[in-house]
Amino acid sequence: MSTVESTATEVQVTPRRGDPEITPELVDDHGLSESEYELILRIMGRTPTFTELGVFSAMWSEHCGYKNSKRLLSLLPTEAPWVIQGPGENAGVIDVGDGYALAFKIESHNHPSAVEPYQGAATGVGGILRDIFTMGARPVAILDSLRFGDLDTGRVRYLFSGVVSGVGDYGNCVGIPNIGGEVAFDRGYEGNPIVNAMCLGLMKREELITASASGVGNSLMTVGARTGRDGIHGATFASEELSEDSDESSRPRVQVGDPFTEKLLLEASLELIASGAITGIQDMGAAGITSSAAEMAGRAGNGVEIDMSRVPVREPDMTPYEILLSESQERMLVVAEKGREQDVRTILEKWELEAVEIGEVTDDGCFRILEAEVVVANIPALPLTDGCPTYEREGIEAEEVTALRDMDLSEHLIPTGDLSKTFLLLLGSPNVASKRWIYHQYDTTVRTATAVRPGGDAGVIRIRGTSRAIAATTDCNGRLVYLEPRTGAMIAVAEAARNLVCVGALPTAITNNLNFGNPLKPHIYYEFREAVLGMRDACTAFETPVTGGNVSFYNETDGRAIYPTPVIGMVGVIEDVERITPQSFQKQGDQVILLGENTDEIGGSEYLYATAKVVAGAPPQVDLEAERQLQQAVLTMIREGHVVSAHDCSEGGLACALAECALGDGESPFGVEVTLDDPLPAVSALFAESQGRIVISCRPDKGQDILAIAEDHGVPAQVIGSVTGPGDPFRMRVANGSVESDLADMAEAYFESISRIMNAPASSGV
């Protein structure tokens, strides 16, 4: 590093006229601590200019530098024979067979969505699409994982409908099907909605390209939209807590999306990659040109020199500081082979976009910024990208959480009224109810590859020209993570895996989006550490390595953090599209079999929240080895052709899982007749969210085969009843009670609930 440092000091760097003086306050405003600033002084060997300070601020922000998460994240398993690209690139890449590779990643846009839900969510989708197509993969599916407060205030409904429109409009316009995701409502997310978007892209293995600035003398070109003043310091903004006045004052830090330009950029980028005219390409996402250029230089071990006066801008008089830190959307940085710049321009012109040379790759390891002839920033690239200090913080569980977990829940095991009414209440709870109101606003069938649409356990897209398909899901129950982070995180991974096996897919790898509060607070850091450890254990047990993801800290408003929400985006491979298994019952007379064990663990359940607004108790325990055996058993049953339908049990317990199997998509429902003998309180038998359970249906003559496979895997299994006719009721008898309901009443509660809430006047708020 000493040679790099000396190079940095040899170049004459000129502060710009009008730049503010570097003071401790200014350093603090840039989110840099005293010790971090001292490190900057050592790296630079002099006082940084205002422009340089801005660059460090962005690159060493939590968002770009992962300073409070990196050490723990290094504990996660990241390798497997099928992993082609692990963490550190724009997206992870795995081998999915038949010569195809799958790029996939999840990313958050929580802070912008809290302030401007439509644009915040839309640009979140835009950013994740670019992360995928910059790997050389064509985006083929989107999933979205959303969290909001309870839908009873106007403010929350505004955020919810704005986010859904934003996610929908952007993906619809670009033409990428949305195949699933999840949404949860709980007052724990009231001030801080969670908006995570995941994208999957397919390519032939040899089409993979990475984001690195290789080849000294190659040209750096900016392609796509022009740079404006929007989103300046977005990365730093994303690394702060929100306060009541964040609303108005932060709006200019939110970017504005243009999906039409994105679509052109997508096509142009894939054409550029195919042309061989470029050696690297990266989205200008968080921290704009700064991070894309610095990271590309850092990965290649090279330097870059960029002239700000050549960057096409939308508004006059932008300073290098502003251009460097703008997060204007739909822009990319490409490294063009020397002499092939015109080829790049020709391709971009076809798509009615601009490509402009703004600098070149150098061999001196410096991130150098010019304004015409004048050097305004000169920073060693490697310390900028890799030198961000990382911290391990103190982590202590909050006493409040310990108390909640230890709370005596026995009074809640006594039914407060008619269990059949409670059943309908739960079916209509927005956390359980059909999310049709959302996904009917998303194009789910464009690209003619969607074999399983949103609404089931996992979305499935087939790979044209092969017999294969990819399944994907996102999962996390934040309440369970809140009550016991390590268990909650394991449950998130286990549920994701169960969702995939239910459609017939082998769980293969994950991307994660870790949404937490302020990590400087010991109880938040505790949640984070425990959740990472839980994820590590589960991913190791299931052989689903982590290939990348995103950390979003500071999800707090006025000092109150969200539930810790480590969203798991999991992908799996289906070898034969003919074996894709539906969630719902298909035929009258089929047997209904429950795999796994019922328990009386009602802690953290939707039952408690929907009936008493209580979030308490210990989450259900999870046995990773038993989960793995269950996954393998179900995959074997499906592969051998025994299974007609399969569905995971989660929110709302076994009763709601059976209801979903019975209702299907509402067009051809079936009745069901089920009896459980387990000696449990009725509430637990019906609504507890015990882990490791899957409901399957099969032809009556296949029941024995299924029970035999379950036994081979040591998975508890019992025939609990049978599928009845479309005119028959839903009937579930348990040891100490029963539920009976007409399908029409259930359909009304389940399918109409969210749209009814969204169309009703709000009880409070704006």
Partner: protein, 232 residues
């Protein structure tokens, strides 16, 4: 059968349409909106998507693309032209079809399967269907609410130019089965001479059982049959 799939900046169902035409044996080319000349083709297909981001108004900018002059000429000579979704919007904007497609009555994007009733099997695009046949086909649009003045509506109805209508499972026209508020539940119409069809639903997305429906195939087999009849 040689078929052109015309693509505009922002088209996103171009590839789906290409594959659908190929599935019925067509020799398919993409024709970029700035290219000229459609003489070598037997049929012209306008795909769905968001040409020019639907900015200004869906289809309003695309209809001024250079290739549209050729599409108008091609249609004028009686060549079959099929516009789906955004393609339908462009055909209306270009004046090849009457009426307009405005924002869905519910004001939000609607993406789901609908049921269509075949009203007019006597076209180059529907000859393989029976009159009254019900088709399950996806829709995905925000501006698919077919609107025309009373006189135009009366004329297209009287002339049997309504090809598809949104209906319920029993084949009845109902308000609940109309996903976007279209006048007379119209999902697809032809021009006067019947060689230009515009429709909001996506038959090209209903071509394979694994994707949920094969009911859209008839549109493409009908076209293939009519062209081979012309050729022989």
């Amino acid at each position: 059968m040689k078929v052109a799939v015309v693509t505009f900046p922002g088209s996103n169902c171009d590839y789906d349409l290409y594959k659908a035409a190929q599935q019925v044996g067509a020799d398919v080319d993409f024709v970029w909106h700035r290219e000229r000349g459609l003489d070598e083709y037997d049929a012209v297909l306008l795909p769905g998507g968001f040409s020019y981001g639907d900015y200004l108004r869906a289809g309003a900018i695309a209809r001024m693309s250079p290739v549209m002059e050729d599409v108008v000429t091609f249609a004028g000579r009686g060549g079959p032209v099929l516009g789906i979704c955004n393609g339908f919007q462009i055909l209306c904007e270009a004046g090849l079809l009457p009426g307009a497609l405005i924002r869905n009555a519910g004001l939000s994007f609607e993406s789901k399967d609908v049921l269509l009733r075949v009203e007019q099997p006597d076209t180059q695009f529907t000859s393989e269907y029976a009159e009254g046949q019900l088709l399950r086909v996806p829709i995905a649009h925000g501006e698919g609410n077919y609107e025309a003045d009373a006189e135009t509506l009366e004329r297209v109805e009287a002339e049997g130019r309504v090809v598809f209508r949104y209906v319920d499972a029993s084949g009845e026209v109902t308000a609940a089965a109309n996903p976007n508020g279209s006048r007379n539940s119209i999902a697809g119409i032809t021009n006067e001479s019947g060689n230009v069809l515009g429709m909001m639903p996506h038959p090209e997305r209903a071509m394979e059982a694994v994707l949920g429906s094969t009911d859209g195939i008839g549109v493409f087999t009908s076209l293939a049959a009519s062209l081979s009849a012309v050729a022989s």
